[in-house]
């Protein structure tokens, strides 16, 4: 024991703060959650490992952290380049909101909007769930976050990692780590958060509703949709132009049927590379001294609230719509409006089958699910447009 003890004092083991240790444990917990529970592993594994890497105490004078950014300094008459750390160059894509649109490109090239096209009224459920975004925004203001911070926190309710990162980078970069971690944590915890709310707000009869099989959608509809939907949404909310431009561009690559190789690369190599770099560097940005703060706890609290509200919003709006419809919607499907694709759609399927094992809601739930992605991108665009102008 003596040998080991003497040695430890000479290494970095002793200079590690308590906060770093906690963050490393959180990182390992994320990885464990991903492996054991299979919750959003493509994001929790990179983020978790990033958190472990980012919390190794480094030697003074070495540039290693994501926050050791490059700069230009004037020395005499010359402007000299001061290099940044390797992780800071990777984090640049997070910091400048570059990775989220590229991930949206890949998501667009993956997503089949058919079920949404075959039953357009379900789109409105994806809109209703965005109430989580705006109520959380108000909640954050109430807790004395400023407008920009509140906007970035509110978007956690969008249940969409790239959107949350994009908006945080623009409005409140100092909260980005906490917001991203909150968003991905709750997306991973969707199977835990949503079912009780869904059961609370629906009767057994409602949960038993079976929905009509969706109609076939023609190729032309699928080709026209990304262009038309892009024009409609961004002319209404121009702030969403980057996220939705890439999402619908990716979908057009898929549905045009003449650019299959580009769609294929967008949804495989390209999105994977960006996911690796984004996840790892977001994780590495959660250094104890910037992350373990009272705000982060508040953000986590607000994030949980926002998921709950969004779920409730979707379910209740489905019930409201049923007042006007003869072909009733199963209100469970409304919970998928929060997005968290495809987890929340799977949760709908699961909760539905607990009442009636022969009720297949998954396909119906995909419609509000993808509509929720569009909805929260619009919400992000609106918040960005309104709050970037405010300089108060």
């Amino acid at each position: 024991m003596d040998i080991i003890f003497d040695f430890l004092k000479t290494t970095g083991f002793w200079s590690m703060t308590f906060g770093n240790a906690i963050m490393i444990i959180i990182g390992i917990f994320f990885i464990t959650l991903a492996i054991v529970k299979d919750y959003e592993p493509l994001l929790l594994v990179p983020i978790g490992m990033g958190a472990v890497v980012g919390n190794i105490p480094t030697i003074a004078g070495m540039s290693l952290s994501v926050y050791d950014v490059h700069s230009w300094q004037q020395i005499g008459d010359e402007i000299i380049y001061q290099p940044g750390s390797v992780l800071s160059y990777i984090y640049f894509g997070v910091n400048q909101g570059l990775y989220p649109p590229l991930i949206f490109l890949g998501i667009g090239a993956m997503t089949d909007f058919s079920t949404m096209l075959s039953n357009p009224k379900l789109i409105l459920l994806g809109a209703a769930a965005q109430i989580g975004v705006f109520l959380t925004f108000l909640g954050a203001l109430f807790l004395e976050f400023n407008l920009q911070e509140a906007g970035a926190i509110g978007i956690i309710g969008g249940a969409d990692g790239p959107t949350a990162i994009f908006l945080s980078a623009k409005l409140a970069p100092h909260l980005l780590g906490a917001i991203a971690i909150a968003a991905y944590s709750y997306m991973a915890l969707v199977p835990v958060i949503q079912p009780p709310i869904m059961r609370l707000l629906t009767t057994r009869e409602e949960r038993l509703i079976r929905m009509k099989a969706p109609r076939n959608v023609s190729k032309r509809e699928k080709m026209i949709f990304p262009i038309a939907a892009f024009l409609i949404t961004t002319l209404i909310a121009p702030g969403a132009v980057v996220l939705l431009g890439m999402l619908f561009f990716g979908n057009l690559l898929k549905e045009s049927l003449v650019t299959e190789r580009l769609a294929n690369t967008a949804r495989n190599a390209m999105i994977d590379i960006v996911t690796i770099l984004l996840g790892f560097s977001v994780g590495a940005s959660t250094q104890a001294d910037t992350f373990l703060r009272p705000e982060s706890l508040l953000i986590f609290g607000l994030g949980a609230l926002s998921f709950a509200i969004a779920t409730a919003g979707g379910v209740l709006f489905a019930k409201f719509m049923n007042l006007f419809l003869t072909d009733k919607i199963n209100p469970l499907v409304g919970a998928a409006g929060v997005s968290a694709v495809p987890d929340s759609a799977r949760v709908v399927q699961m909760v539905g089958q607990q009442e009636d094992p022969h009720n297949f809601l998954l396909m119906h739930a995909m419609a509000p699910n993808v509509a929720g992605v569009i909805g929260s991108a619009i919400a992000a665009g609106v918040l960005w447009a309104v709050l970037v102008k405010e300089s108060f």
């Binding site: 949404m116 096209l117 039953n119 357009p120 009224k121 789109i123 409105l124 994806g126 809109a127 209703a128 965005q130 109430i131 975004v133 705006f134 109520l135 925004f137 108000l138 203001l141 109430f142 807790l143 004395e144 976050f145 400023n146 407008l147 509140a150 100092h174 109609r215 076939n216 959608v217 023609s218 190729k219 032309r220 509809e221 026209i224 949709f225 038309a228 939907a229 409609i232 949404t233 209404i236 909310a237 703060r293 009272p294 705000e295 508040l298 719509m321 006007f324 419809l325 003869t326 072909d327 509509a371 569009i374 909805g375 619009i378 919400a379 609106v382 918040l383 309104v386 709050l387 108060f392």
Partner: protein
């Protein structure tokens, strides 16, 4: 409840707010300004989201009928479409009812919102 913010950009404003918060008369004047502004942002934001997705809904609901006309002039190679158009019609008529209802509520709300903003 006071949270320790230390980001440079916000510090001045927050110091001002903290000073003000010591004076009870100002407390109710300054903090709610953000919140009040926030409420109007939240309402218009929610309305824009709903409008945008409602427009997409309406567009999608109408698209098969437009394409059915186009298909007569310029037929699509595969035959999915012909089968699709008839059931969509019945769906669409029901959609029309619900869209009209929601559209009316939204319009009314939106007008209220615009009025309250122009008054403040």
């Amino acid at each position: 409840m006071i949270i320790p913010f230390d980001t440079d950009t916000d510090s001045i404003i927050h110091h001002a707010q903290r000073l003000n918060s010591l004076m009870p008369s100002h407390f109710m004047l300054i903090i709610p300004q953000d919140l009040d502004h926030g409420i109007s942002i939240a309402i218009s934001g929610m309305l824009i989201v709903v409008f945008a997705l409602l427009f997409i809904s309406l567009f999608i609901a109408g698209l098969p009928r437009v394409l059915a006309i186009v298909a007569k002039v310029w037929p699509e190679v595969d035959t999915h479409h012909g089968k699709a158009s008839s059931p969509s019609d019945s769906l669409a008529s029901e959609d029309d009812a619900i869209f009209a209802a929601i559209g009316f509520v939204l319009h009314t709300e939106f007008q209220k919102q615009l009025q309250s903003e122009s008054n403040s």
